[in-house]
Subunit: 462 residues, 2 copies
């Protein structure tokens, strides 16, 4: 047996223990966006610090203004590239809790009707399960061979789901320590359950939250209806005016910096045979919305979008309350592509919102940071190594894909630390990340660990 | 001293005790719309039953499918009209609780900067303070003269703020017991702090609540944004399309049965000198919204309106959650005037909503009962008696007004029991009913009690 085969055999034999460790991490309620869960975020960071030190990666919890970072190193000046592995230990909120089939922080292995085994818990896929694939790969490598094949640094953050407010200052303050030859980022998905993928194109994002206010207090709709401004109506007007009848976003100049893909790229993607029916059918839908001259794969990878993630105003309880609320709220996110500038988009959005605010009303904006879209170089040499490693493990060519969601860290690594990122992940479309009943396939976890062993092995080669 | 002067003097001397009794009632958390407060609603009914029996009105708590009624009688076949006094002991919910300056169920007398004394509590004006004006008037009359000048029956309900689901069956089942010569209803306001009013025109109301659903679960906006329907956008489109740029409601046929007022009525109202600036200024506004060819007094009394009292969908917590919610909600109420038919308006609304539901979305309606508008006969003889009584107490002619809010009971009394209603109340525009920091002027309470003494005395005259 070659040394890599021994490492892989150890992983197979140790899988139950790997799962026990993952479950320990999944039980920690590290919801970063809600201040109530500050202590569990700290606890998750400390748990990871201990795990890394236990397997031979010297790690420490590093305080920030928000939730802490975990930084680890195992390096001895090996000839191959020094890689920085990135993941995040924080998770999304769990509401609406009543739609979960079990306690989101009580992980379990379940078997679906088709026999697929899945790990069910908040964070199973996003991103605790994913980051543990790398930790377990490193553990097996060191246990079996006494070392890692390349120098490895680790960065786990705890604010990915809440806009990463501490990340820029932390990267800036620790530039020398964290700058490596390249980054490995495990927060993405496969093409499908059988086909691995490397993401080479990431949309950016910019968000905003508005509070529209009118009267100085809630009003009785029998007395003031018709005469007083109703913030619910104003917010609804703002939302309704953001798209035209063809699904285009109406902000002036919004599409100016969108870049159309070269024909060879779209041709490659056409071959992937994206199954629109399955993509929408999995969530109970049939008819693609959106720009009606574009395909859902374009909506997902190469087109900008605007979504209202939350809106509220007035009475939400049981029964009727005849009230005109003093204020109403909405949360917006724009996905960005090509050269769209988050600041410019936010300015256009705010100008538009202000233009829809009538006399007697005011608007307040709750600022959100944005990040532009990114495209990696298709000719980047490590892409080939990644593709070979994944093909060896999965027996199929990796798809080179775009990505719908944002991973701002990739842009930060590029701009602040001068590093390209290899984005390899094992999530699947039906993992229900950010939703009730999040899961991660047991196969994703198992073969994910094995995939990282092969990637590290490939990277060490000349 | 005439007997009526003695009754009035007793009221003045007993005011502190009257307030103590009112405070006992205000402390009971009888929120009818929320099932959690079922027990306090029962408690309020039993408290009123005891009060009425104590003062010599034979009363009992009468069970319904929902919150109980309190019915009382004191009658001996007097020659004057037999009157039924109506009020409601239930109150509106108190949220948002953080905007209250004190516990809404811990009543207190406060003194405003201008020296006005006010009773602050949920229900102080709507309707516990108002109904207690009549109870205290009856108490003083019986205590001082040994009897009431006319036969009196009482009906207090506990579901006025939650659509009165038990009222129709109760009136139907107790038609003989409750049918009197006329009703006295105390749930309305004065023209201003110095000018009493009798309401002769009431708007109707019909409401509806919608739930718009799309995907079978919450979605990640990075994955499904642009492609999947977002119920927040659909609900916003529905709300935004309900009014045109001139503030007119767009439902087909909506204005068909609206009746314009005769010129003599509007001329009378013009003399009232409605102060738009003060009306809006009191709540921090300046610019009348609504149909831009109508005055705010028309919006309030003679024009139909449509207001969204609540809307919600998606994430409302702190920070960002990149979600497309599976569903979104909105609560609507329409104020009706003239001959507008609640059922017809609801049908037009539902047809409109359905026309805005795209493929892949569905809508569910949560049914709400409606009531048509009412106009009393300006030549009704008891109107003159009411006007004389009020002028004697307040030294000013009573204004004959319309009313913005709905009082469905008046229509029920007319249609089910064949009774006209004399609507006399002592609320003021700035009472903040249905809002935080609800209050009732001490003067309204005191002179309200005295006014009922004079009204009962007038009604007993030939």
């Amino acid at each position: 047996m070659s040394s890599i085969d021994k490492v892989l055999a150890r992983i197979d034999a140790d899988l139950d223990n790997s799962l026990d460790r993952l479950f320990e991490l999944l039980k920690i309620k590290s919801i970063s966006t809600d201040p109530e869960f500050k202590a569990p975020c700290q606890e998750a960071a400390e748990w990871l610090e201990k795990e890394l030190n236990d397997i031979g990666i010297e790690a420490s919890v590093r305080d920030t203004e928000g939730h802490p970072m975990v930084v680890g190193h195992r390096k001895s000046g090996k000839p191959g590239p020094h890689v920085l592995f990135y993941g995040h230990y924080d998770v999304q909120p769990v509401d609406p809790l009543n739609l979960w089939n079990r306690d989101p922080f009580d992980p379990a292995i379940e078997t679906k009707e088709d026999g697929t085994k899945i790990i069910v818990a908040r964070g199973a896929a996003d991103d605790k399960g994913q980051l543990m694939t790398f930790v377990e790969a490193a553990r097996a490598f060191i246990a079996e061979t006494g070392d890692l094949p390349v120098d490895v640094s680790i960065l786990f953050e705890g604010e990915e789901e809440s806009g990463s407010p501490s990340l820029h200052p932390f990267l800036e303050a620790n530039k020398d320590e964290l700058s490596c030859d390249m980054a490995l980022v495990c927060d993405t998905g496969q093409w499908d359950a059988e086909t691995p993928a490397i993401s080479v194109m990431l949309r950016g994002m910019v968000g905003d939250e508005i509070i529209v206010k009118a009267a100085s207090r809630d009003l009785h709709s029998g007395s003031y209806g018709g005469s007083a401004q109703n913030p619910n109506h104003i917010v609804a007007n703002i939302i309704a005016g953001l798209h035209d009848e063809n699904g285009k976003i109406t902000l002036p100049g919004f599409y100016d910096d969108v870049i159309d893909m070269p024909a060879e790229v779209t041709a490659m993607w056409d071959k992937l045979g994206f199954d629109v029916e399955a993509f929408l059918g999995e969530v109970g839908l049939k008819h693609p919305r959106g720009e009606n001259d574009r395909t859902p794969l374009e909506h997902l990878w190469t087109r900008p979008t605007c979504e209202v993630n939350g809106m509220w105003g007035g009475y939400q309880g049981a029964g009727t309350k005849t009230v005109i609320p003093a204020e109403a709220h909405a949360k917006f996110t724009f996905r960005l592509v090509g050269d769209q500038d988050p600041d410019k988009i936010q300015e256009a959005f705010r100008a538009y919102v202000r233009s829809k605010i009538p006399a007697d009303c005011s608007v307040e904006f709750l600022s959100k940071d944005g990040s532009p879209a990114l495209r990696l170089d298709f000719a980047m040499p490590v892409l080939e190594k990644g593709k070979k490693a994944l093909k060896d493990e999965w027996g199929k060519d990796a798809a080179l894909t775009g990505m719908g969601g944002s991973i701002p860290i990739v842009g930060d690594f590029k701009r602040m630390l001068g590093m390209d990122s290899l984005l390899i992940g094992f999530g699947l479309e039906d993992d229900q990340i950010h939703s009730p009943n999040e899961k991660y396939n047991l196969k994703s976890f198992h073969k994910g660990i094995r995939s990282w062993v092969r990637v590290l092995d490939e990277l060490a080669k000349d």
